[in-house]
């Protein structure tokens, strides 16, 4: 038996190493399955919870066109949630169980959504920075080893880049607008810059799962690599907009052909991860309320479907 399992695991790793996709019916190590379920459901939850900060401005968008674009964007996030829950379901997880884990606090979602949206410029900043960071995290996942996840990510990434452009466009409009608008954009950047850098996760030294995930090709870059890439990408864009990145230590490093930048406030990072973010309670409560208050609707839909089935029989 042991020999056989080792062989299966070896075969599995060989497929991964050759970049052959793993599909739902293929054999896979339990740890791989569990890691994937955790990661995909976390990602799905992030889409779901991620609807809230932007949803907060739909009713207050400053023009009918912007309202329309924003609502469509948040709707896309709901769609992404659906793809991802489906991908996780191919691994044997149920959506109800995943949601129960979200609601109990057992499952996590991206910490960035535990920050509040306080001005219209936050809609620009989230699209530009937060979606920008998400794309950097997610593009490599389009080539991830698990087939359904990789395919879901292809669709997600396509829409995300569209959202990112829209976010940048909001920022551009603000920065080319009146003084108050530019100030609004800068103030939003000040609030979101550091939390966005935290989106890539703890420093590599504090990220114990990275190695295994990279071996399984669930992950393809380390947290710090992606963070560096993000800073190098965003600083010129901020300059283009005429905005100042709120980091005194930010400086071009000719030798590494990249920016040096200040230290992330890891204490804040871990506080937020532990559920002490400015909006952590509100976000989770909003989801729990939606779920609890929707229970009777789901029950009615089930009961009615059952009645139909019985009548048809």
């Amino acid at each position: 038996m042991e020999t056989l399992e080792l062989t299966q695991e070896e075969q599995f790793q060989a497929r991964i190493d050759e970049d052959i996709r793993i599909e739902p019916k293929d054999w896979m190590p339990e740890a791989y399955r569990k890691t994937l379920i955790r990661q995909i459901s976390q990602h799905a939850h992030s889409e779901l919870v991620g609807m809230l900060p932007e949803g907060n401005w739909i009713t207050r968008a400053p023009s009918l066109k912007r309202k329309s674009i924003l609502l469509a964007k948040v709707q896309d996030e709901a769609g992404h949630g659906l793809y991802l829950y489906s991908a996780a379901e191919t691994l044997g997880a149920s959506r109800d169980q995943m949601l129960a884990d979200l609601h109990s606090g057992k499952a996590k979602y991206s910490s960035i959504f535990n920050y509040p949206t306080l001005s219209w410029a936050d809609m620009g900043t989230i699209g530009w920075l937060v979606d920008g960071a998400a794309i950097l995290n997610q593009v490599p996942l389009c080539r991830t080893s698990y087939g359904p996840y990789a395919r879901a990510m292809v669709r997600v990434c396509k829409e995300e880049s569209f959202h990112q452009r829209q976010g940048f466009e909001i920022m551009q409009t603000l920065c080319e607008g009146a003084t108050e608008q530019k100030a609004m954009a800068q103030e939003a950047l000040n609030r979101w810059w550091w939390p966005t850098l935290m989106m890539f996760g703890p420093a590599d030294a504090d990220s114990p799962n990275t190695e295994q995930s990279m071996k399984w090709r669930i992950k393809r870059f380390t947290n710090d690599e992606l963070r560096q890439k993000f800073v190098d990408m965003m600083v010129p864009q901020a300059e283009f907009l005429g905005l100042t990145v709120p980091d005194d230590k930010l400086q071009w490093n000719e030798a590494k052909q990249g920016y040096d930048f200040g230290d992330v406030d890891w204490a804040e990072f871990w506080d937020v991860v532990k559920g002490n973010g400015p909006c952590s309670r509100e976000r989770l409560q909003a989801r729990v309320d939606a779920w609890d208050q929707g229970a009777w609707v789901r029950e009615a839909a089930l009961a009615h479907a059952e009645k139909r089935k019985q009548r048809a029989a």
Binding site: L48, M51, L52, G55, I58, T59, R60, A61, P62, S63, L64, K65, R66, K67, S68, L71, A72, V74, Q75, A78, G79, G81, L82, Y85, W120, I170, T173, L174, G177, A178, E180, Q181, A286, D289, A290, W291, Q293, G294, A295, W296, V297, R298, E299, A300, A301, A303, H304, K307
Partner: protein, 249 residues
């Protein structure tokens, strides 16, 4: 022309306000798929509202834009029907509000698309396809809730009790609408009412719900006499434009 402007504005306001109410659900729906559906309908109505506002601005010919019309008029200037501004309440209230409106909206657009005003007909032709989907969706939910569990039935009945009194306004022509009807721009609402009644009857029978009878009908939205809800809705909707008038976003 002034009458047509006012009527188109009434259509625009109703679509916008109802879209706004639906968009309040975004992220808080009972089922993720229904979150998507409500956002969809909201987007359709928002698109329709924009078409109407653009046309109204054109009819008015005073250089106002769709955003001026939506963001710079206060509650007593708004012309939406009372139904549209009623709060979401629970999902049953939202569904009942939607179904009452969808049934009217669909049958109205069927008429408008063949009406004499080319531009209104064009908007109606595009929107009627969406409205057909809307009324299908809300009718299905009326049926599920009416013929679902005891609780859902109780809730949908409470919602009907609360909202039916706003259905009459939809087909009660205002002075403006009477002028347009006389001029042949608008259909006779009695005919539409009959089609709506049949549609409602069909759905309610399947939902095992009685069609309300003899309800006292509220009206006033079409002449700017709203409920107190609208002021709060507009304070939110218009806040940024009011705060920074005349800027581009």
């Amino acid at each position: 022309r002034q009458q047509l402007f006012e009527y188109v504005l009434q259509l625009a306001d109703t679509s916008l306000i109802l879209a706004h109410r639906l968009s309040e659900w975004c992220g808080h729906g009972p089922i993720l798929e229904q979150d998507l559906a409500m956002a969809n309908i909201s987007l359709d109505l928002l698109g329709e509202a924009r078409s109407y506002y653009q046309y109204a601005a054109e009819l008015e010919g005073r250089g106002r834009t769709e955003d001026d019309l939506a963001y710079l008029r206060n509650a007593v200037e708004y012309r939406n029907v009372l139904l549209a501004e009623q709060p979401n309440g629970d999902f049953a209230h939202t569904i009942v509000r939607q179904f009452i409106y969808d049934a009217f909206h669909y049958h109205l657009l069927l008429h408008l698309q063949t009406g004499p005003d080319k531009q209104l007909a064009a908007i109606a032709e595009k929107s009627v396809k969406e409205a057909a989907y809307h009324v299908k969706w809300s009718a299905e939910w009326i049926i599920r809730l009416g013929d679902g569990t005891e609780e859902s039935r109780h809730r949908v009945e409470a919602a009907i009790n609360a909202l039916w009194r706003y259905s009459g306004e939809l087909t009660t022509p205002s002075a403006t609408e009477q002028v347009l009807q006389a001029a042949g721009f608008l259909p006779d609402y009695a005919a539409i009412q009959q089609q709506i009644d049949q549609h409602v009857e069909r759905v309610f029978v399947e939902a095992t719900l009685p069609v309300p009878q003899g309800v006292f009908m509220q009206k006033g939205g079409k002449i700017g006499r709203h409920s107190e809800h609208l002021g709060y809705l507009l304070a939110e909707l218009q806040y940024l434009q009011r705060t920074y008038p005349g800027l581009q976003w």
